[in-house]
């Protein structure tokens, strides 16, 4: 059930922004008109976003899809308006341009791209671990899980501003647990402590995680020690998003100089089973992953 990208569906979509709101200091939620995404995009897939014809920045920016929905048609007989939502943190030149966009502004989307989460239909305990903006791809995942009353969202951030959209997860029937490093919301400390506690209680749970590299490493260490199945969504520098530039590679488990096993984050990822990756040698570069 792994979501391979559907070739005939992939195209560069020239479209418009429907809304773009600051939902917490430095965090924006952008709704984009996106016909064709509903029913084709899988949880964990991403888009390459470009402000139309803008130079600079030159390259597109990768963003996870937070959710997909639709609005009633403008008038009778017209199709309903499908949209996707991105949630992004302003961190640099590209996101600075994005924050200035308004309803009606023209943009381009490439996607849905990459391989999303592998979802099994078996009801059972599921633990989603998100760090800051890393919770983005977990929302569609939570929405597609079979028994949401047995799904727990663990979300960690530096401060209360970094904890976003938790109530929306709760509306799906998911139980949430929040930690902040400064104790301004939820429990004080790191989210991995809660993960250990939950795994003590639900040792057969499946774990899904996205967030900054140090957090992912800690989550991996906990899960591998307990032989718990883990899928992670990685970030990487990307130029193309389609497997051509080879800028986004990470080392696979079998990698060696003689027998290169580089995996493209954009095509073979961004979601990987943790056993596919060489955690000891995941490049430091991935640790530049922003936010926590």
């Amino acid at each position: 059930m792994r979501s391979e990208e559907k070739k005939h569906k992939m195209k560069n979509l020239q479209t418009i922004v429907l809304s773009n709101q600051e939902i917490s200091p430095g965090y924006f939620r952008m709704r984009i008109l996106a016909p064709g995404y509903k029913g084709t995009a899988h949880p964990g897939q991403f888009v390459m976003f470009r402000v139309r014809r803008s130079l600079p920045p030159l390259l597109r920016r990768p963003f996870g899809i937070f959710q997909i929905g639709s609005l009633p048609a403008d008038c009778e007989g017209m199709p309903e308006k499908e949209f996707i939502e991105l949630i992004y943190k302003v961190v640099g030149s590209g996101t600075e341009v994005m924050r200035e966009l308004h309803h009606g502004d023209r943009i381009e989307l490439l996607g849905p791209l990459g391989r999303g989460f592998e979802i099994d239909d078996v009801a059972g305990d599921k633990i989603l671990v998100g760090g800051g903006i890393g919770l983005v791809p977990l929302y569609m995942l939570a929405d597609s899980l079979a028994d949401r009353s047995r799904t727990r969202l663990l979300i960690g951030g530096r401060s209360r501003e970094d904890i976003i959209t938790v109530t929306e997860f709760e509306r799906l029937g998911v139980t949430s647990h929040v930690t902040t490093e400064d104790g301004s919301l939820g429990e004080e400390g790191l989210i991995t402590r809660i993960l250990e506690r939950k795994l003590d209680k639900y040792p057969k749970a499946k774990v899904y995680s996205c967030g900054p590299m140090p957090m992912l490493r800690a989550v991996e260490a906990i899960c591998s020690a307990r032989k718990v199945a883990l899928q992670v969504s990685l970030e990487a520098l990307m130029a193309c998003g389609v497997g051509a530039c080879l800028g986004c590679v990470v080392k696979g488990r079998e990698h060696s100089e003689q027998n290169p096993d580089y995996l493209c984050t954009c095509r073979q990822g961004p979601v990987f089973h943790s056993h596919e990756l060489d955690w000891d040698r995941l490049e430091k570069s991935a640790e530049q992953g922003k936010s926590s």
């Binding site: 470009r50 130079l55 390259l59 597109r60 051509a244 530039c245 490049e283």
Partner: protein, 312 residues
């Protein structure tokens, strides 16, 4: 009043050189188009003047550690490290896909010794669907202290001569711009028996993250590409066209049809589009459509009438 473009006859865009027949002068630049397959969902590969593959070596190559890319003002740095599947796997696994298209396939290759260059060329020479080879000489010669073949006219001459002996297909030599006088290497390539020259490969560059004080790419030094390098590329194409008699393919920073036209007007017979494919996988298609419109608007019936028409 703007002429109604739809009713005017379509301009002829086909170009011919070095034994190659191209439907139009547009092709992707090596390393920015994968092995073609990656872009098939976005554009019709039959519309391309030619398909140019990722650079191949004798053995598979792992490439460099990451970070491998960094965005710059009007461009990007890359140090991918020529990661590729190796020539044999290419022939086995990638050629069958490429053979389905009627656009000629140009295979880019490189080596780290003269022998490696020669051997890869010989293996590709026997492959039916391969129309021509493009030889990347921007590689260090490991037997000679790592000096890049293309920066030493003598080494370039020798390695091209050696490849020429083992290859009957058309040979395009791709020059590095990281030299003091590009005309000297261009002449060396012509003298060694190249059928055509393509230029430019990336310009070496470097960028530093001032907060971590680390280079932005793991390899420290990388290759600069994208719109920022175009004036350098146009200048070098102009100089080379003036120097050699063999046909020239222009490369560097082409994002739009107008950019491609700059190269054609200075005398390039065809152009390659690189970084633009990353920004927009439909880039080549858009450039083709716009090139056609430009010709119609300007009353150019045949693109060949435009090539080398620089007014000095």
């Amino acid at each position: 009043m703007k002429p109604n473009l739809a009713t005017l006859p379509k301009p002829r865009l086909a170009v011919e050189f070095a034994g190659l027949k191209l439907k139009n002068p547009l092709m992707p630049a090596s390393g920015t188009f994968g092995y073609g397959q990656e872009f098939a969902p976005y554009l019709d590969l039959n519309q391309l003047g030619a398909i140019v593959t990722k650079g191949l070596s004798l053995n598979p190559k792992a490439g460099n550690p990451t970070p491998r890319i960094a965005e710059t003002v009007s461009g990007m740095l890359n140090a991918i490290g020529l990661q590729n599947v190796g020539v044999d796997a290419f022939i086995r696994e990638k050629m069958p896909f490429l053979e389905q298209f009627d656009s000629p396939v140009i295979v880019n290759f490189f080596g780290n010794t003269q022998e490696e260059y020669g051997e890869v060329a010989a293996r590709l020479n026997d492959v039916p669907g391969v129309a021509a080879l493009e030889m990347n000489i921007s590689c260090p010669n490991v037997k000679h202290g790592g000096i890049v073949f293309g920066t030493d006219p003598k080494a370039a001459f020798d390695v091209i001569t050696m490849v020429r002996k083992r290859l009957s297909k058309p040979l395009i030599v791709k020059l590095t711009p990281n030299v003091t006088d590009i005309r000297i290497t261009a002449k060396a390539a012509e003298d060694a028996g190249a059928d055509a020259i393509s230029l430019i490969n990336t310009l070496t560059g470097m960028s530093v993250d001032v907060r971590t004080r680390k280079p932005r790419i793991a390899n420290v030094i990388g290759g600069l590409s994208g719109p920022g390098i175009r004036p350098v590329a146009v200048r070098m194409t102009h100089q080379v066209v003036q120097t050699v008699k063999i046909p020239v393919i222009g490369i560097g920073g082409i994002m739009r049809a107008e950019d491609a036209l700059e190269f054609l007007i200075v005398g390039a017979r065809a152009v390659q589009v690189g970084t633009a494919n990353f920004v927009d996988p439909n880039a080549l298609q858009t450039i083709l459509t716009d090139l056609e419109s430009f010709c119609v608007e300007q009353g150019v019936e045949d693109i060949n009438d435009l090539i080398g028409t620089l007014e000095l």
